[in-house]
Symmetry: C2
Subunit: 401 residues, 2 copies
């Protein structure tokens, strides 16, 4: 571990991420200068190392409440650590940077289970989030100090351990005189609202509801498993919005819940979709897709109108995630907010696809400097806390001095 880091000095930090869908390791190398939320972050390199289907299946088999066992979890932890260590050395090589010049690596790990709702055990109500990807293995293979386990501390402080992204959104997009919304449309859509001049504690961040998850499910179904997502919204464009079906979808109780709130794949999963569709057996694929696109946009719009615009006047919305590439979704969203300036995060320093890995680097840097990096307004934590566990890299003494 590099002690005595001078925060005014520029440092190279890596970030490692693998999403719940277990597609691969997302790795970034960034240069960071400055202190706290006033850091400047520059992307040096980014890459995705896709898992083979065998590795992906091995991970998915341990995911979820009832999956895995102590042995599978322990060995997968070491194995994903090897894969992350490999990805870390790969990005150093790609950027022609010696691992010894990287001050730290932040690792999200691979989530097996996330349970933010308290469960009563004798004497204590507990929550937790389980990630694998042993930091000891990553540190030993690379010699780089690793910071990991970012969600646990926020949860220990009463938070949901998610979302973590608003910390980076704030760093990248906060502005003294412009009020901005940052929208990420992944499987689930999440929104960070930053009133002009607000501090971290003035943020509002929450999941609005479905991102691409319902449209992806329907596309998979109507294509007979041949298509994973509705490319360019082509199918949705051919269909028509079915108002009764839309109204049924809009009854989902998540939409009316006040922030902080977070959704997962199961909140808007096949159980919900199949249940709503049961009442409309006559609907064709394109109409279902068009209605789901409309539902997605409406749920985002409800989030903005009910929880954000009543408190501040927003001028700009910065959109990232796969949904930003769906023209049907974006046209509909622009139509709903004609006064907002639309931008995509790719127009800024950090392209959207690298954001999650960059977030891990920025969180690691904060922890090594002792800066809290959760956003209690977003996670519901009772306090701002320093996130994660620090695993020292190479030691600078062969033995005690």
């Amino acid at each position: 571990m590099r002690d005595h880091q001078d925060p005014s000095e520029s440092r190279l930090v890596a970030g490692l991420m693998s999403g719940t869908s277990a597609d691969g390791v997302d790795v970034a190398l960034v240069r960071i200068e400055g202190t706290g939320t006033d850091v400047a972050v520059t992307l040096v390199a980014h890459d995705v190392l896709k898992y083979s289907s065998g590795v992906r299946q091995r991970i998915l088999s341990c995911q979820g409440a009832a999956a895995g066992n102590a042995r599978d979890v322990a060995l997968l932890d070491a194995y994903v650590g090897e894969l992350f260590g490999h990805a870390l050395l790969h990005i150093c090589k790609k950027a022609a940077v010696a691992p010894a010049d990287v001050s730290a690596a932040g690792s999200h790990g691979q989530t097996l289970y996330h349970h933010p709702a308290p469960v009563q055990y004798p004497g204590f109500a507990v929550t937790n989030s389980l990630q694998v990807g042993a930091p000891s293995v990553i540190a030993q293979r690379s010699g780089i100090t690793v910071v990991s386990g970012f969600r646990g501390r926020d949860m220990a402080a009463g938070g949901q351990g998610a979302p973590l992204a608003p910390y980076l959104d704030y760093i990248l997009f906060h502005h003294r005189s412009r009020s901005r919304l940052v929208l990420n449309i992944g499987g689930i859509a999440n929104l960070t609202a930053m009133p002009a001049g607000a501090g971290l504690d003035g943020l509002l961040a929450f999941d609005t509801g479905p991102g691409n998850c319902l449209m992806d499910l329907a596309t998979w179904h109507y294509s007979g498993g041949k298509q994973a997502f509705d490319v360019d919204g082509a199918s949705a464009r051919k269909g028509r919005v079915h108002e009764a079906f839309l109204a049924a979808l809009l009854e989902h109780p998540f939409l009316k819940m006040a922030p902080p709130k977070s959704a997962d794949k199961e909140t808007f999963g096949s159980d919900f979709l199949d249940g709503a569709l049961l009442r409309f057996p006559e609907l064709r694929g394109p109409d279902v897709l068009a209605t789901l696109a409309a539902f997605t946009v409406r749920s985002i719009a409800m989030g903005i109108l009910e929880f954000c615009t009543q408190k501040a006047r927003y001028e700009e919305i910065i959109v990232s995630g796969g949904g930003a590439n769906n023209p049907v979704l974006m046209e509909s969203l622009r139509g709903a907010f004609p006064k907002l300036v639309f931008a995509t995060s790719d127009e800024y320093a950090i392209p959207g696809k690298a954001k999650e890995a960059v977030l891990m680097a920025v969180l690691a840097d904060a922890t090594l400097h002792g800066w809290p990096s959760n956003v209690p307004a977003a996670t519901g934590a009772k306090a701002a806390v320093v996130l994660g566990d620090i695993t020292p890299g190479v030691s600078f003494f062969d033995e005690a001095p």
Copy 2:
């Protein structure tokens, strides 16, 4: 985390341990002065907080290869974290020390699974050790910086992640001009041999074989489950050693294996005992106990004679663990080594029963100073490494400075 610790200053460090048998949390508070293996360690307070039978059952149900699942492991992790956090605050109160004055706490956690033998996964052979007891929860409840996960880094460096105790044995008992053996007779018996004047790399440490485990199993069986161990060796004293049964026991391949080597409850478990007893159905309980005591002493003696005394002349043996209280065992051992001076660790500064928790404190202190604390000669690791993950305690900034 307290940065910039001056190692010449005295500091208070806590240690937390729960053994595989999941009896309770063993917690110690020590004062440490000095650097590296030249530290002086003084016990300030020690206590054991026993688990209720419900908590113990909950832990045991997640232990072992096929037990638990992602949800149980994740929630138990947070729960044991709460119990450890409670034990940490308890020892501070008992010692009348403010948590803010404790520089760190080392936590072993509760082992669910330990797998030192490599398992081939695609591209990498993996090993790992899974402990629960979330350090984020311990740190958040106490405000104290926690160091945990000590076994993982040694395993990432090619070691077995065990034993860790030789590091403390060396600190407490190494001597410039006296060659010493340190013997701990727990369930399994382990030995640390320290030739006079040797450094950490001159140690030899390994499990010799059974400690009390076989005698406990037999006592449980012959008492019809009424007695957990042979108090004062009373039953063994009534019996006679059966030479053919003893010879059968001595065929166990573990005894001839060269160090580093480690055994677990299953290496000398009921499968082994029942298998050996099958050939001698006529044996009475006391004779079985007497023979098992003789086997235990013989396996310890073989370890000393075959791997230690050929390389150095030892003057003293310091015995700790439950077996040190069994007079039959101790008389037999004294008989086997008439020239060795026998001492118990209770005659030294750290009583035997506190040693495991004290070890955790000493390891945490080493890690925070950047001192490697595994003993490659004992674990088989390819390098001396800094052990564990550091979870910062209270942050000293409410927000970025």
